[in-house]
Amino acid sequence: MDQTPALVLLISRPSDNLVGMSEETFDIHYVAKLARLNLTEEEFKTMGTQVAQILSYVEQLQSVELGDDVVPTAHPIPMTNVTRPDAVKPSLSQQEALCNAPAQGNGLFMVPKIVE
């Protein structure tokens, strides 16, 4: 059978063969801020390298030939606009909704002050 060389490499190559992604363009500090993730200095360093390696790997998607008429697949099944009648139905009780709250008071979730 024909081999697909790329797939053979996929299975057997160690990832340090990969060309390093331009680590300059991937700003992990910025992305962590967008994602509201507090990382330690160590994590910034390690994850920065690892994510850059993964990004380097996914760069191969740039080489795929896409015709003008290729529609993106957001969803495996051709379903759109699934709705239900706008009718009130039972849902979680207030008590159920609060049962795992880290901080609650007066039947409400307690949060740090938002507005001064």
């Binding site: 993964i54 998607l61 949060v111």
Partner: protein
């Protein structure tokens, strides 16, 4: 007392209904096996024995009341649940520090369906944190060991479910599959793992990882058991807007049909030099077996296979970054204080999530971010279309596809933990089924010699053609005896 796990679900429920087997003694036999083996393999992270016995009592009452039991195909059958599927009153840790103390206020639709069918829910099964992983090593509750050899991983992310079924700690288990998380651990642990077609089983109550890829499915000792489980959990659910209004097949009664003339395709891109030798020969023998059963084997091509992993890791991380945005320390879960909400979120999420989860959120956030969305996410979705077209093309020539489930047998604990990309590459054969929405099943087809570890073969079918998939899997299984072997 005969080995409880050697009975099929159907024969077990028949014995319970006739009174030949008591629900309590069946539960006891499984609890005994859990007590003996779970401390070592750690397949189950939570076990509420009192609750299990209460369920047994309730089921016994139902039997004694004389009411009709024919609509209870899982009567008294002990089933373990992956700890990312909501079961009212039970933990839903998702193997994460973020949900350490979370107790579900409601049942997932599949849980309600299992209860309705008379099942006895025993134990919460371990997983990779938030289902992100291929080895169950990222669990915040400690890893699970492969029952065949404790130095090896059971696979992931449904590693606990697969190990529990394989070691006979339960009759069946539920897992979830986003990129192979049912099929790959089933392959590594030597049991059956079924990923239904996308939309076949409700995702209501499944902690979302990647909404266009996730599916709940059964892990079982046999194909017939998987068919019985699927019949119970499949079906349209108005609470899941991605579930499909397709009639549920009579999967178990359709088994036993001859597969003469069934066209099975071997995608050439899956049979390459990188396959472990023993995996290759076991799958080759399985192909021969299918030929003996009358199937027509032909080579097909899925040309965009090499891009599947890259496509998957852009799409699933993007979707995960969105789905995990809800974990902010406000309404549930772990909380670490901050001077304002934004700081609270960042602190909470920084300490609540493990490394792999954070890595994927970072990747997903990046590929969706302004300036990069087109180059990464949109492009990946377009490649996804090409992958889907490959399968559509192949399914014009054949009814099913046959591949190895994983390029080799289970790897050692710790072997790939430090190299995320190497870990991702183990999903190479399972991932496309999630991207496309196909149904897929892994079943045992042999063992490696030293150490003895299970090898799995994968069948993939067109969306909503689980009947054909299960018929073929069953035919192969019944012509072989791999499924009778147990590790302990």
């Amino acid at each position: 007392m005969s080995e409880p796990s050697s009975h099929s679900i159907r024969s077990q429920t028949a014995r319970i209904q006739s009174g030949e087997q008591s629900v309590h003694s069946l539960l006891d036999s499984f609890l005994e096996r859990i007590e003996t083996h779970n401390p070592r393999i750690h397949a189950l992270t939570h076990l509420d024995q009192e609750d299990a016995r209460k369920q047994a009592l309730q089921i016994e009452k139902t039997i004694q009341s004389g009411q009709a039991l024919h609509n209870k195909p899982l009567l008294g059958i002990p089933i373990a649940i992956k700890d990312n599927i909501a079961q009212q009153g039970h933990p839903l840790s998702c193997a994460s520090n973020m949900l350490k103390n979370f107790v579900s206020p409601y049942d997932a639709t599949v849980i309600a369906a299992l209860k309705e069918a008379g099942a006895l829910l025993v134990g919460r099964a371990n997983l990779d944190e938030f289902a992100m992983g291929s080895s169950t090593e990222t669990s915040s509750l400690g890893l699970t060991r492969n029952p065949w050899n404790e130095a090896f991983i059971p696979g992931g992310s449904s590693g606990g479910s697969a190990a529990a079924v394989s070691a006979g700690l339960c009759a069946a288990a539920l897992g979830s599959d986003t990129g192979g998380s049912i099929r790959q651990p089933a392959s590594f642990c030597g049991c059956v793992g079924l990923k239904p077609s996308y939309g076949r089983v409700s995702r209501y109550g499944l902690t979302a990882f990647a909404s266009s890829l996730d599916q709940i499915g059964p892990l079982t000792r046999s194909v017939e058991d998987a068919a019985v489980m699927l019949e119970t959990i499949a079906g349209y659910d108005p609470k899941d807007s991605t579930s499909v209004q397709a009639p549920v097949g009579h999967y178990s009664s359709a088994l036993g049909k001859e597969i003469k003339g069934l066209r099975i395709g071997l995608p050439k891109e899956y049979f390459v030099d990188g396959l472990a030798e023993e995996t290759r020969s076991a799958v080759d023998q399985a192909i021969q077996q299918f030929e003996n059963l009358g199937a027509e084997i032909q080579e097909v091509s899925l040309p965009h296979t090499e891009f599947a992993i890259a496509t998957y890791y852009v799409i699933c991380t993007a979707e995960a970054s969105a789905n995990l945005a809800r974990f902010d320390g406000i309404r549930y879960g772990h909380r670490e204080e901050g001077k304002d909400p934004a700081e609270l979120y960042a602190n909470t999420r920084g300490s609540g999530f493990g490394a792999e989860v954070k890595r994927r959120i970072i990747l997903g956030t990046y590929v969706l971010s302004s300036g990069y969305y087109d180059a990464y996410y949109l492009r990946a979705q377009k490649v996804r279309t090409l992958i889907r077209k490959d399968f559509e093309q192949a399914f014009k020539q054949v009814d099913l596809l046959l591949t190895p489930t994983v390029p080799s047998t289970a790897f050692k604990i710790g072997e790939k933990a430090a190299d995320p990309l190497q870990m991702y590459l183990t999903d190479i054969f399972t991932i496309s089924a999630n991207l496309v929405g196909n149904c897929g099943i892994s079943l045992p087809c042999g063992f490696s010699s030293d150490p003895k570890l299970p090898i799995g073969l994968q069948l993939m079918g067109k969306p909503f053609e689980e009947e054909t998939l299960l018929q073929a899997a069953h035919a192969y299984e019944q012509a072989t005896s791999w499924h009778h072997e147990m590790p302990v």
